[in-house]
Subunit: 419 residues, 2 copies
C-alpha cells in the first residue's frame, strides 16, 4: 500500500467511526471520557518513558530550550492533561441541541439541530498535550479525529493515543474514533489535506509556516489560528493607572501567546503624560520599545526607531511597537492596516469613544477597559478550547465544543409537496 | 498594470468599501436598495439591449436551448429581478443582532454580535440575475462584493452592475461596494482565488467543474453548492398514495434542480405493491427507470439495469435509480454510501422509523413525509437565498442573510487584567 492509500484507509475508517459517534448519547460519551482520563494516569510510566525518548532525540538535535519545554511531559503535566479530559466530560453535550424551530404556513415543521461535523483532521507541531486535548474535544462533540503530530513528539503522541484508544475502547469507544497518523513526513500532510472525501475539516495548530502549508494544500475547510498582532489604544479619556495595568498585563504576562499585545497606540492629547509614566515602567520590565521620531527623540536609548515592519510584527517576546495617533479614527485606521483582527483594546472613560471603537474595529474580540489576554476559551467560560480562530467563517475567536459542530434541518410533514 | 494587479486593485477597493458598509444603518441600506430596484427598471432598454448582444453571440456559438434560456432576460424577468431587490430591502437587517450576552465572575460583560463577513467574491456562470441577487444580498448583510460572471453574460452583467452602482451611488452607496470584474478569462478566477488578503469568502455558483476549480485554487474559505443526489425512501409503514405524490413531486416538477430526487429506495415489505402502483405512473410521466435485477425481471422494457454508477448519478433530468432495501438501516447505509448529503425523505406512518431516519441520515435537510423540493430558502421562509450549501462548516442547506454574516465579541470591563 502506498503512503497515500494508507492515509486514505485512516480516512475511510474515521468516516465509519464518525457514524457511530454521531448517535452516541452524552452519558456514554462521558463514561468513555472518564475511562480515558484514568487510562492516561494508569500509563504514566509508559508515556513519560516515550517522552524521555523524544526529549533525548530533541536535545541531540539541538532544539531550543523553549522547544524542549513545549515537548516535555512530567507527572504534573500529565495529571493536568487527565484533568482536562475530566473537565470535558463535565461540559454539556452540544449534539442534539435545538437551535431553532418553526412552522411554515403549509404546516411543515422545521427544526434546526446541532450535529457533529464528522471527521476532523488535526495537524500540529511539538506539544504532545494537543493529542489528548484535540481528541477528547472532538470526541465529546461527536467527531472522529485523525491526528498528525510533529516528528519531535512522535513517541509521546503514540503513547498518549494508545492510552486513550485502549482505555476508551474498553469503555465502548468505537474503533478508529481517534487515530494517530503513524507517519510524520511532509507527504502525509499533503495526503490528508487532499482527502476531502473523508475529512470534513482540518485544524492546523502551530506556526505560520505549518498553517500556510495546510491552507495551500487543503481541499476541505480549514479553521486557522494565525498570529495575533493585538493593539492597546490609550484614548484621550483613559485612566492612566488602568491603562498602565492593562498594558503591562497584555504585554508581559505571556508574551509568547497570540493574545499578547504587540502595539501601543496613544492619543496625542494623552501622549506626553502617559509616555512619561509608562516608558520607565516598560523598560524596567525588560520590554524593548520601538517608536516614532517623537519618542526616539524624547527617550533616546529607551526607544528605538520603528519601521513599517515593526508595526506588522508579532514579537512573541518582550518587544512593543508604539505610535502616537491624532485621534480615535487614526487608531482604528492603524489597526485596520496593521492588525490581524485578533484582539484590540480601548482604554477610556468616555462611553462614546468606547462604542465607536467596539463597532468600528473588525477583530474577533474587541475590549473596553480590559486586557487582550482575555481572548481565551477558559476566560470566556467555554471550559476549554481547541484554539482561537482568526477566521471569520464558521468560528471566530475562542473555539469551544459548539464550534466543533454543524447543524441539520429536520422537517416533518403530512405529505406536503411543492407547488 | 498586470491582470493580477488590476484584480488586486478591485480587492483593495472592496476592502475599503466594506468598512463603510459594516457601519451603515438598516434604514440607509434599505433606501439604497429601493433606489437600485428603481434603477434596474429605469434602465430596462439598456439592459435588454446588452442581453440581446449576449444572446446573439451565444446563438452564433451554438449554445444549447437550455443555456440560451438561462441567459435570456425579458421585461418580466427584469421586473422579477427588481422585485427581488425590494424583497431584500424588506427583510430584517442581520447586522448588529445580539447572538448571546453573559457576564463572567470577574465582572467582564461579553456580547456576541453579528457583523458582516467583509468582502465576498462571487464566481458564476451564465445566469445574469445572479449579478443582482448576489450583490444585493451581500450588500444588505453589510458586505462588499466582487462579481465575476461568465463570458456569455458579460454585456448583460455589465449593464446590470452599472444600473445598481449608479442608482445605488446616487442614494449613498459607497464607491466600490459592488464591483464587476471586467475580465472573463480563467486567469481572473485564479487571481481572485489567491487574494486572501482582500477576499474573506468566495461563493462559486455554477457547474461542478467551476466549483472544483475554485476549491482547488482558493486560499480563503469557499462555500460550495455541489450536486444533490437526493433520496426518497418508502418505508414498510408508508402510505402508498402519499409516497406516490411525494416521489412524483420530488422527481418531476423541476428535474434540473439540485433538490430533485435521483433515487427511490423501497423497503422489501412494501416493494411488490408499491412498484406495481408507481412504475406505470413514472413511465407515464416520462421518467427513465434504472433498477436492480428484481425490477428488470418483473418490468422488462420499463426498467433498465442499474449499475453502481447510476446510484451515484445526478440525472438533472427525468432519470430515476431504484433499489429495494432489506430495512431502514440498509436504506440509511445506501444514502451514506451514495448520497451527497443534500436532501433525503422518509415516507412512513411509523414515528419510530421516522425518528431513526431523521437522526441517522447526515444530510443538510432530512424530511419525514414531505418532498425533497422543500430544501429551498424561499420554502424555509428565508425570503431569498444565495444558494444551498452542501458544506457542513459555517452554512449548511439554504443560505439566507444571516449566513452571509460573521460575529465578533465585544467585551466591556472596568480595568480587569488576567491573573
Amino acid at each position: 500500500m502506498s503512503l497515500r492509500e494508507r492515509i486514505q484507509e485512516l480516512g475511510r475508517q474515521g468516516l465509519a467511526a464518525s457514524r457511530s459517534l454521531a448517535l452516541m448519547d452524552a452519558g456514554h460519551k462521558n463514561r468513555i471520557l472518564r475511562a480515558m482520563a484514568d487510562g492516561l494516569l494508569a500509563r504514566e510510566a509508559e508515556i513519560l518513558a516515550a517522552n524521555a525518548q523524544d526529549l533525548a532525540a530533541a536535545e541531540a538535535k539541538g532544539l531550543s530550550p523553549a522547544m524542549l519545554d513545549r515537548l516535555r511531559l512530567d507527572p504534573k503535566r500529565l495529571a493536568a492533561m487527565a484533568q482536562g479530559v475530566r473537565e470535558v466530560a463535565d461540559l454539556p453535550d452540544p449534539v442534539g441541541e435545538e437551535l431553532a424551530a418553526w412552522e411554515r404556513p403549509n404546516g411543515l415543521k422545521i427544526r434546526k439541530v446541532r450535529v457533529p461535523i464528522g471527521v476532523i483532521g488535526i495537524i500540529y507541531e511539538s506539544r504532545p498535550n494537543v493529542t489528548s486535548d484535540a481528541a477528547v474535544l472532538c470526541f465529546k462533540s461527536g467527531n472522529a479525529t485523525i491526528l498528525r503530530g510533529g516528528s519531535e513528539a512522535f513517541h509521546s503522541n503514540t503513547a498518549i493515543a494508545a492510552a486513550l484508544q485502549e482505555a476508551g475502547g474498553a469503555a465502548g469507544l468505537p474503533p478508529h474514533s481517534i487515530q494517530l497518523v503513524p507517519f510524520t513526513d511532509r507527504e502525509s500532510v499533503r495526503h490528508m489535506a487532499e482527502m476531502n472525501e473523508y475529512l470534513d475539516l482540518i485544524i492546523p495548530r502551530g506556526g505560520k509556516g505549518l498553517i500556510e502549508t495546510v491552507v495551500r494544500l487543503a481541499r476541505m475547510p480549514v479553521i486557522k489560528h494565525y498570529d495575533g498582532i493585538c493593539h492597546v489604544y490609550v484614548d484621550a479619556g483613559a485612566d492612566a493607572a488602568m491603562a498602565e495595568s492593562i498594558l503591562l498585563n497584555a504585554k508581559t504576562t505571556k508574551p509568547s501567546a497570540c493574545n499578547a499585545a504587540e502595539t501601543l497606540l496613544v492619543h496625542q492629547d494623552a501622549a506626553e503624560s502617559f509616555y512619561a509614566r509608562i516608558i520607565p515602567v516598560l523598560t524596567g520590565a525588560g520590554v524593548k520599545l520601538y517608536g516614532g521620531p517623537d519618542l526616539v527623540e524624547k527617550y533616546p536609548g529607551a526607544v528605538s526607531p520603528a519601521t513599517e515592519e515593526n508595526y506588522r510584527t508579532e514579537y512573541l517576546d518582550l518587544g512593543l511597537s508604539i505610535k502616537t495617533v491624532a485621534d480615535l479614527e487614526a487608531a482604528v485606521a492603524h489597526i485596520q492596516n496593521y492588525g490581524s483582527r485578533h484582539s484590540e483594546v480601548i482604554v477610556t472613560e468616555y462611553p462614546e469613544a468606547a462604542a465607536a471603537f467596539l463597532n468600528a474595529v473588525d477583530s474577533a474580540v474587541v475590549l473596553w477597559n480590559a486586557s487582550t489576554r482575555f481572548n481565551d476559551g477558559g476566560e470566556f467560560g467555554f471550559g476549554c478550547e481547541i484554539g482561537i480562530s482568526t477566521d471569520k467563517l464558521h468560528a471566530r475567536g475562542p473555539m469551544g465544543l459548539p464550534e466543533l459542530t454543524s447543524y441539520k434541518y429536520q422537517v416533518t410533514g403530512t405529505g406536503q409537496v411543492r407547488a
